[in-house]
Every structure is written in C-alpha cells, then in structure tokens.
C-alpha cells in the first residue's frame, strides 16, 4: 500500500477536488431538479411540456454525450468557458433530470386532498407547492434521491476525461501511468476515497429519513 502512503497528499488533493465537485453538483442539481419537478406538475400546459421534454432528452442521453456537448460542442458555436464550469454544468443538468423524477414520485404520493385543501384556503400554486406539497414530497423522496445523488458522486469520476483535472480518479491515472505504480493498490486507494464520500452521504441520508419520517 505504499503507493497510497507515499502519495498521500496527492490523494488528499484529489479527494478534496472530487468532494468539491460533488457538493456543488449536489446543490445545483437539487435546485434545478426541484424547479423542473414544479414545471412537470404545474397547471400551465407549456411548462409541463417543457419539463417533460427536458427530462426525456437529458435522462436518455449518456452522461459522456452531454459532457462532449458541453466541452466540445459549445466552444464550436463560440461559447467559451473553463472545462471546470462545463463539466460541472453537464453533471448538474444530467443529475437534475433524475432528481426531478424522484421528487415527482414524492409529489404524486401526497394525496390530492392536500393540494385541494391548500387551494381552498386561497394559496396560489407556488405557495401550495412550497408550503404544503414539497415538504411532504421531499420526505417520501429521500430514499430515491439518495440513490440518485450517490450515483452522481460516482459519475463525477467521468469529468476527469473532459478537462476537469485533479479529481480523485485523475490522480490514480497519474500514479499508474506516469509514475509507474501498480494499478491495484492505487485503485483500492481510489475506491476508499469514493467510499469516504458516499458512505457518510448514505449515513446522512438515513439520518434524514428517520428525522423526517411522518405518520400517515
């Protein structure tokens, strides 16, 4: 295991970069996913169509295709930016489609009586969603959202192939290819690094699930 101990600072910097990518993408995809979910249940038909189109297009395209589109398609039509921005945007857009569907499952589980009651006391659509439906929907959505987000953490490794340097998986490539370390111990180190992100995340989600459990 000296491949890991000798290069511990490199692993640590890779771990932090990956964690940073995950946290930004987590917040971004939750925000955008919630907005798209609101579109998909909204009473305005064009918004519903827009939401459905977004989910259908994004969810059915492989992540690498989206990354290609951002990293090489956008500069082609004159939109330039850092690969860091391109990579994270693609990850957020990809994940938000799944977040949207997980949330929509939660929204659909809230009985329609709740929405009707909210409307009966004069709440407009956005307030109905914000004050009555979503708080209940988020609780039901915690387990599927957890799976979506953990999948996103692991997907973040793909960004290394699209110019976002320094993440945990890129570190392993540097060690095995350029510096000639044996692949197995290095990859075990990488696996442990990702577990150090996903296991606490899983524990936190389990805690959240217990904390927000409601009796129906």
């Amino acid at each position: 295991m000296d491949a890991v101990t000798e290069n511990f600072d490199l692993f640590l910097s890779g771990y932090w970069t990956s964690l940073k990518i995950c946290l930004i993408a987590l917040i971004g995809s939750l925000v955008i996913g919630t907005i798209i979910a609101a579109f998909r249940v909204s009473p305005v038909a064009p918004l519903r169509w827009a939401g459905t189109t977004y989910v259908t297009m994004v969810r059915n395209a492989p992540l690498t295709v989206l990354l290609f589109f951002f990293a090489f398609g956008l500069p082609e039509i004159g939109i330039r930016g850092s690969y860091w921005l391109f990579g994270i945007s693609a990850l957020i857009i990809y994940t938000s489609a799944f977040v949207c569907e997980a949330l929509r499952a939660g929204i659909n589980s809230v009985s329609s009586g709740q929405a009707e009651a909210a409307r009966a006391i004069g709440l407009p659509f956005v307030a109905t969603l914000r004050e009555v439906i979503l708080p209940q929907a988020f609780r039901t959505s915690v387990p599927p959202l957890g799976s979506v987000l953990i999948a996103m953490f692991k997907n973040s490794a793909v960004l290394g192939a699209f110019g976002v340097g320094g993440d945990l998986f890129s570190v392993s490539e540097t060690l095995t290819s350029a510096r000639g370390y044996a692949a197995t111990p290095v990859l075990v180190g990488v696996a442990v690094g990702y577990l150090l992100i996903t296991l606490p995340a899983g524990a936190f989600l389990a805690f959240l699930e217990r904390k927000t459990a409601i009796l129906r």
Binding site: E76, G163, A182
Partner: protein, 295 residues
C-alpha cells in the same frame, strides 16, 4: 471430381491474394529479416521457448497513429508493430503467428508481470520507476517532448514562454509523462488541462479552448499532418524519451538478443520507420540509438 478441382483452384487463388495483401501492407514484413539459427538458443531461455512454440504474444497500443494503430484490417500497424515483427522474425516466428495484445499505457507493467505478453513495444519510455518492475531492451527510438500550437499563434515560441502567458492553457493526457514534465514550465497548476486521449486535445486546440498541446514530437507530427496547415510545432524538443521494449524483469538473455537483433537488422529498421511514423511530413529520419546495457 471437377467441383473438387474447382474448389482447390479457388482456394489456391484466395491464398495467393491473401499473400499479396499482407505483402503490400507492412513495410518491413516483405523484407527478409536475418533469422538467427534457432538451435543456438540456450535451452530454457525465452528465445528457445518462443521459437519452439512458434508463436509470441506482443503487447502494443491499438490507438497510436504511426506506432500501433488497429484499423479496419484487424491487425495493428505502425512502427512499434514493425519493430516487434523484426524481433519475432529473428526467432523464426512469422507475422501471422504473432498474437497482438492491446496494452494502453497504464497496464503495461501489469501485462508483462502477469505474463499476458512476452514483450511490450508500445511507445514505452524507459525510466527507473518502471525498471523496478520490468526490464527494458533497447532503446529503439528516442522521441522528445515538444509543443504544438495553432498555425497563426506567434506568442508561444517554446516551453519558456508558457510562464509569461499564464492565460494560455496547455493540454495533455491525464497521467502521461508529458503532462508531468510540462508542470515545471507552467505558471500554475490550473494552466494544465488534461483529457483521456490526445484527440480531444487536438479538438480543444482547434476550437481555441486551449492554446498549446504537448506530448512526444512523433505523436504531434501526426496531428500536424492531418490538420491541413492548422497546427504547427514550436520550440525545440525539451526532453529525451527513449522508447524501450518491455520484457520480464531480469531476463538479460532476451534483452541482449533483442538488442543484437535490432543492430543486425538496421536496414529493416530504417524501412519500418520510413513506411510508418517516418512517413509523416516533417518527421526526421530515425537512427537506431545505441542500446543500454542489459541488467
């Protein structure tokens, strides 16, 4: 009877055609490689074992234009491939009896250690870290790292001008030796952009997301050649990358055999270069470098 004769005739014709095909592809395959008298191999040596088996497993890259590229023909082609054929030929093994194993950069040591290939010829830079796990024969070619920029770019003239232009991004492949080497010339770490393959670097240079692509000159020449005057090389080579042939650690006899074979077949070596990586416009003629001592 007549149908049988017809089939035999067709089969003979097909064989003849197949023969023509293989002659016209590889440059060196048609040249007679000086075959060593296989009975002189010491019993138990790698050469004796391979010559007796009549086949050899050779690791090479399948995606490196000019060196080892597997195209539609199904067999890899390039300089590494032809060098490997010279060595196999010296043991009396024909090109048809070579089993090609794909060995991308990161698994080259593993492939040798686990016996998946008898030797690896894959733009494999000799260095001490790698020597801890395997042995090298050769070098058979000395490449060097260089910079490639857009043809209309006059700000970057060599690695020294990178520090003065910190906004110019430099592209290479993640985890490659060139990516490690270039770091000392950069203003900061974020000036380096890495992808998994050089093709993406060339695309990024084309749409101006990066200003410089750096790796071994021979790889860059391939991109310059296919860019229609869009790219150019600037500055001198600033590293020496001696390409060696990876073999099992400590197999001195095999190493010496490879070195002698290359020296005895310089003509085939030169032809192999001229018909593969050396065919690119701007490539300098290759001369076989003096071999390192086998250890």
């Amino acid at each position: 009877m007549r149908t049988k004769a017809l089939i035999a005739l067709l089969a003979a014709g097909a064989l003849a055609l197949a023969g023509c095909g293989s002659d016209s592809t590889g440059g060196s395959t048609s040249d007679p490689v000086k075959s060593v008298d296989t009975s002189t191999f010491e019993a138990g040596s790698t050469m004796a074992k391979l010559a007796a088996a009549g086949t050899i497993k050779i690791g090479t890259k399948f995606d490196q234009p000019g060196f080892g590229l597997k195209g539609l023909s199904g067999a890899p082609e390039g300089f590494d491939v032809d060098v490997a054929k010279i060595i196999a030929g010296a043991m009396g093994i024909s090109a048809d009896n070579i089993e090609w194993v794909e060995t991308p950069s990161k698994v080259r040591e593993e492939v040798i250690e686990q016996g998946k290939a008898d030797m690896v010829v894959a733009t494999y830079t000799i260095n001490d870290k790698r020597k801890e796990r395997i042995s090298f024969a050769g070098p058979y070619y000395v490449a060097g790292q260089q910079l490639m920029v857009a043809a209309d770019d006059n700000t970057i003239t060599g690695p020294e001008s990178l520090k003065d232009n910190p906004d110019v991004k430099v592209c290479s492949v993640v985890g490659s030796t060139p990516a490690e080497n270039i770091k000392q010339y950069l203003a900061n770490d974020s000036q380096l952009v890495t992808f998994d393959i050089y093709d993406k670097c060339a695309s990024a240079l084309r749409n101006k997301q990066v200003g410089v692509v750096t790796t071994d000159n021979v790889i860059l020449l391939g991109f310059v050649a296919e860019s229609d005057g869009g790219f150019k090389l600037v500055g001198d080579q600033f590293t020496d990358e001696p390409y060696g042939i990876g073999i099992e650690k400590g197999d001195t006899a095999f190493c010496e055999f490879i070195n002698t074979t290359l020296k005895d077949n310089e003509e085939a070596y030169n032809q192999a270069w001229a018909s593969t990586a050396g065919a690119v416009e701007g490539a300098a003629a290759a001369t076989l470098p003096p071999a390192d001592a086998c250890a």
